[in-house]
């Protein structure tokens, strides 16, 4: 028996995308990573490949830049899954895609869980309007909410057996995991609870009863934020009160769903120090949260074919230029181009091996850099094939 060295064993771990997509027990794939690493393209390419292998897929994208729409040749994605045209359905699969409209999703949640009058008053509250369209974290929270909805829908009528989620272009990749909790802690927050007390008791009588700390806090906050804001918040929180339980319960459910064996996280990165660092943070965090990691996708990796090294190529180019008798004037330049590509390729592999060493056991697949941007199904199929290795 040949014994593998630990380094060789690590190098063996490659992410088998086709096995992941073919596993009927996997029903949710979450693509996460830093901004600009090709998450949306990866999610769409996984969707196309899974659909054409026979899965009934729905892809949820969150990015407002209509990127998925462009790569899927769709003109509008409007918070409702729409069938993607041009998918090869011979294996019995299908693909739907949708883009998250965060405000609309939030509105729907309110409408679903509050009486019509109460819903109307919440929707008109200026604080609600601001929170639902701009609270840092609303997008992430609503993505989780939508994921939960799709999961329920898939069990009922639509028959999707695989949900692929592209995560929001967050400040940091970790925001996606933290946002639901942050909203939860907002709802559970002591200050919010304290603010709510008066609205329940009615009038301003509470101030007498409240602790000195609260008076001070409310006083300062009123000074800083303006009394109006606090009043709006109080009305908002009071109106939302009946929904609190539901909110938290669902945030908890979705969190549990992300820990379930039916979920697989695919961390996406580019061969760049920052993106890989972010990916490492994510891998670590998933471990802490006991969330199932499938592996790492590294996009846009420079590869060079053949065995000509950078140094050899540079030497050969200099030697050719020195002779002054090239048959083709392009020869030396082509060698220099190769040397440049080889430099990038070496650097990319160095960064990836560094990641491997500090994150042993993480399965990795690499997608070579494409000369052109991807914006059609054929492009996505090619990416899918590369992902599958």
């Amino acid at each position: 028996m040949v014994r593998m060295t630990p380094a060789a064993a690590r190098a063996e771990r490659s992410l088998d995308i086709d096995a992941l997509l073919a596993d009927p027990a996997k029903r949710i794939i979450v693509c996460c990573g830093a901004g600009g690493v090709g998450k949306t393209t990866t999610a769409a390419a996984l969707g196309v490949r899974a659909a054409e292998a026979g899965r009934r897929v729905v892809v949820l994208t969150i990015d407002p830049a209509l990127r998925l729409a462009q790569s899927l040749g769709l003109n509008a994605l409007d918070n409702t899954p729409r069938p993607v045209a041009g998918i090869d359905t011979r294996s019995g699969g299908s693909m739907d895609a949708m883009m998250l409209d965060m405000k609309r999703t939030f509105d729907e949640v309110v409408e679903q869980h509050a009486s019509p009058e109460k819903a109307a008053s919440i929707l008109a509250n200026p604080f609600y309007v601001a929170v639902s369209s701009s609270f840092a974290g609303t997008q992430e929270y609503m993505a989780m909410e939508k994921l939960g909805q799709l999961r329920v829908q898939s069990q009922r009528e639509n028959g999707w057996d695989l949900i692929i989620v592209d995560t929001p272009p967050s400040r940091s990749a970790l925001d996606f995991l933290d946002a639901p909790k942050r909203l939860g802690s907002f709802l559970d927050g002591r200050f919010i609870r304290l603010l709510m007390a008066p609205a329940k008791a009615g009038g301003k009588a509470y101030l007498k009863a409240a602790s000195a700390t609260l008076s001070l806090a409310v006083g300062v906050m009123t000074k800083v934020l303006g009394g109006e804001l606090l009043r709006d918040v109080q009305t908002f929180v009071a109106a939302l009160d009946t929904m609190f339980g539901g909110f938290r319960e669902r945030a908890d459910q979705t969190y549990a769903l992300l820990q379930a064996p039916e979920t697989a996280f695919v961390v996406v990165a580019s061969p760049d120090r920052d993106a890989l660092r972010e990916a490492a943070f994510f891998v670590e965090r998933l471990g802490t949260e006991r969330m199932p990691l499938a592996g790492l996708v590294v996009n846009r990796v420079q590869r060079v074919a053949g065995s000509l090294s950078r140094g050899r190529a540079e030497d050969a180019a200099s030697a050719l230029e020195a002779t002054g008798a090239m048959r083709s004037s392009a020869s030396a330049d082509l060698l220099r181009l190769h040397a440049d590509l080889a430099t990038s390729a070496t650097r990319h592999q160095e960064l990836i091996s560094r990641f491997r060493v500090s994150n042993p056991g993480v399965a990795i697949t690499q997608v070579p850099a494409a000369a052109r941007d991807i914006h059609d199904l054929d492009g996505l199929r090619a990416v899918g094939a590369d992902l599958a290795g």
Binding site: A130, G137, L225, G226, E228, V304, L335, H338, H375
Partner: protein, 338 residues
């Protein structure tokens, strides 16, 4: 018709440089290079980030930054570069302390969750606090009376990415939605006045790829419409063409067997192993490279049509290590941005 053409150079009279770009375009690197370039001109410069990503410290490979201004480097020209990472809670406590002389009460507020509330929940307040720190640094003076001079000759803000930047800078609109009066509102108003003045320039970083360019152009438009002074477009990671005009002509005729034979013979003459197969590889690489150059040219055209100042930074095959940042800073200086 091109609207909002900026006729001055990006550096003239500008003290606050706001740098944004799509995620992955390298805006932090460019902001850092701009800071280094300004410091190399003998200026006292502050480089600030507001998203708690510690991008500046990782770019310079130094210890994590905090809300207090920390010296990153001294330039032989006499210039210096300081860095800070603005964090909303610290900014709020500082703000409360400064304007309300709160002292210990600040920590009480923290305990009761009011600080969390104000910095994470109340929309816009967080952004006011974040930019507020930058605003304060940009407006701070040293010395008294008529001798007072700005504490910093320039402040470079590594701003949120293009998708969020208009909302981030539009603090007063955002705050107005929830607070129609009060100190936060007036703070937001003063910040906005500075951000819309000629002292500020919002620079956009892009790559010569379709999506980043599209986002760059969209952001340029929305920023101009919102009244923010758009400065330069900085094109990052531009590939060196490497191939000469002559090569391009040869290659654009298609890869003939004659070309293949000639190159293979050249390779053989300098002892490259397996010249035939290597030639095939080199020609494939050249084809892909040409496609990229075409794409670059196409995207460059779209940027040029904006009629704005454009600066180009080269792709660094070896990455930022080994003095890459200085290479970029030198480029910004040579091309006249600073």
């Amino acid at each position: 018709m091109v609207s909002g053409v900026n006729t001055t150079t990006a550096g003239q009279g500008v003290r606050l440089h706001v740098v944004t770009g799509k995620g992955g375009t390298g805006k932090t690197t460019v902001a850092a290079a701009l800071g280094v370039a300004l410091a190399a001109q003998g200026k006292r410069v502050l480089l600030a980030e507001v998203e708690e990503r510690q991008g500046i410290s990782s770019t310079f490979d130094i210890a994590p930054l905090s809300t207090s201004e920390t010296l990153i480097l001294n330039d032989p020209s006499g210039g210096s570069l300081y860095g800070m990472s603005v964090e909303p809670k610290a900014a709020l406590l500082e703000y409360l302390h400064k304007f309300y002389k709160l002292g210990r009460a600040g920590s009480l507020l923290e305990k009761i969750g009011a600080v969390d509330f104000a910095t994470t929940i109340a929309p816009g307040v967080r952004d006011v606090l974040l930019i507020g720190k930058v605003y304060e640094a940009a407006g701070r003076t040293q010395g008294r009376g008529r001798k007072a001079v700005p504490a910093y000759d320039a402040v470079v803000l590594d701003a949120p990415p293009t998708g969020r930047v208009a909302r981030f800078l539009g603090v007063n609109t955002e705050v107005a939605e929830v607070a129609r009066m009060g100190p936060i509102k007036s703070q937001a108003d003063s910040i906005t006045a500075l951000l819309k003045s000629r002292i500020t320039a919002v620079h956009l970083v892009t790559l010569l790829e379709e999506m980043p360019v599209q986002e760059c152009l969209d952001a340029t438009q929305s920023l101009s419409e919102a009244g923010f002074p758009v400065g330069a477009i900085i094109v990052n990671q531009v590939r060196d063409p490497i191939l000469s005009e002559g090569d391009l002509t040869d290659l654009s005729d298609g890869i003939t067997s004659r070309l293949h034979t000639e190159i293979a013979a050249d390779l053989a003459s300098v002892g490259v192993a397996d010249p035939d197969r290597t030639t095939t590889v080199l020609l494939e690489e050249a084809q892909a490279h040409l496609e990229r150059l075409d794409l670059q040219a196409e995207q460059d055209q779209r940027i040029q049509e904006q009629g704005r100042l454009v600066y180009y930074l080269p792709q660094l095959p070896g990455g930022l290590e080994a003095g890459g940042l200085n290479v970029l800073a030198d480029e910004l200086h040579t091309q006249g941005m600073v």
